[in-house]
Symmetry: C2
Subunit: 143 residues, 2 copies
DNA sequence: ATGAAAATGAAAGTTAATATCATTTAAGGA
DNA sequence: TCCTTAAATGATATTAACTTTCATTTTCAT
């Protein structure tokens, strides 16, 4: 999904819930929608403060909570003690492979794996609505 | 792997590192090796304290850190703010499927998925040494 | 314009993880 | 067996990230 469309989705969500629009929140969301990394609150805060130095941590926190609630961000824990927020990719779902030496994160897509997941779940009587797949290993530089 | 074998692995690891054996650590490890849930430090502490009331949180913490280091425990974050430790199953690796309504966790194994993971990583130049796969959906009771 | 409700930013509170430190204990060597 | 020394323990303090509170400001429907 394009950043502009995400803003539209956010707007509808805000309207539907009877919330109010603010310039701070809009700017935080816009900034987040432009990232393609797994960003932490602190990182997003400093990005945002480059243009708007007086924005508070709590506002970024609350904005990301809101984006998570309406599905525009995904909160993830990769194992360091921080929550990182993933921006929905423009081209659909992807999984992660994380270097256990340098912490580099690469992404990949594999429809066949997803198909097998659905089948494995079906055998247990489950219906899959979402998943997380993380591979841990060595990147080309650290191998 | 059987609990007894795990104790043996731990013993060798301790010897190899020049550490010392203690009754507290042994008892914590034994207790952990008997669980088949994803246990938090607090939960493990209270289990341990039923028989040995004067064991400290820090000792449980340090023991689980040690077990994680030597591969006998796997630290996981399912999204609540707590680290949970997974005991290696006796019959090899498994993945999880979690009900998003009742939080029930089922486990499954699928070698084909694992094979595809290795191939996907290879394409990016990565070597896989471990992975986490979690499916989220509805269990038979909640569907 | 006005007033109710929501948002903001600063600061305080919470929670889980980690480090510190005085004391105890394990284990190899005299 | 008795030292010696290094590691382990348990209590406590510290840290780091997250979450809440509260006084003030802003939005928006009327």
């Amino acid at each position: 999904m394009q950043p502009a469309n995400k803003m539209a989705v956010l707007k509808s969500f805000i309207d539907a819930k009877g919330l109010k629009s603010t310039s701070q929140r809009d700017f935080i969301a816009e900034t987040f929608f432009k990232t393609n990394t797994h960003i932490s609150l602190d990182e997003l805060l400093s990005k945002v403060r480059k243009k708007t130095p007086n924005i508070g941590y709590a506002t970024v926190y609350r904005t990301m909570k809101l984006l998570s609630e309406c599905g525009l961000a995904i909160a993830r824990q990769f194992g360091d003690g921080q929550t990182r927020y993933e921006n929905l990719p423009e081209d659909g779902h992807h999984d992660h492979i994380i270097c256990i030496k340098c912490a580099k994160i690469a992404e990949f897509q594999n429809p066949k794996i997803e198909q097998l997941q659905i089948e494995a779940a079906k055998k247990l009587g489950f219906t899959v609505v979402n998943h997380k797949l993380e591979l841990y290993g060595y990147c080309p530089d650290c191998a």
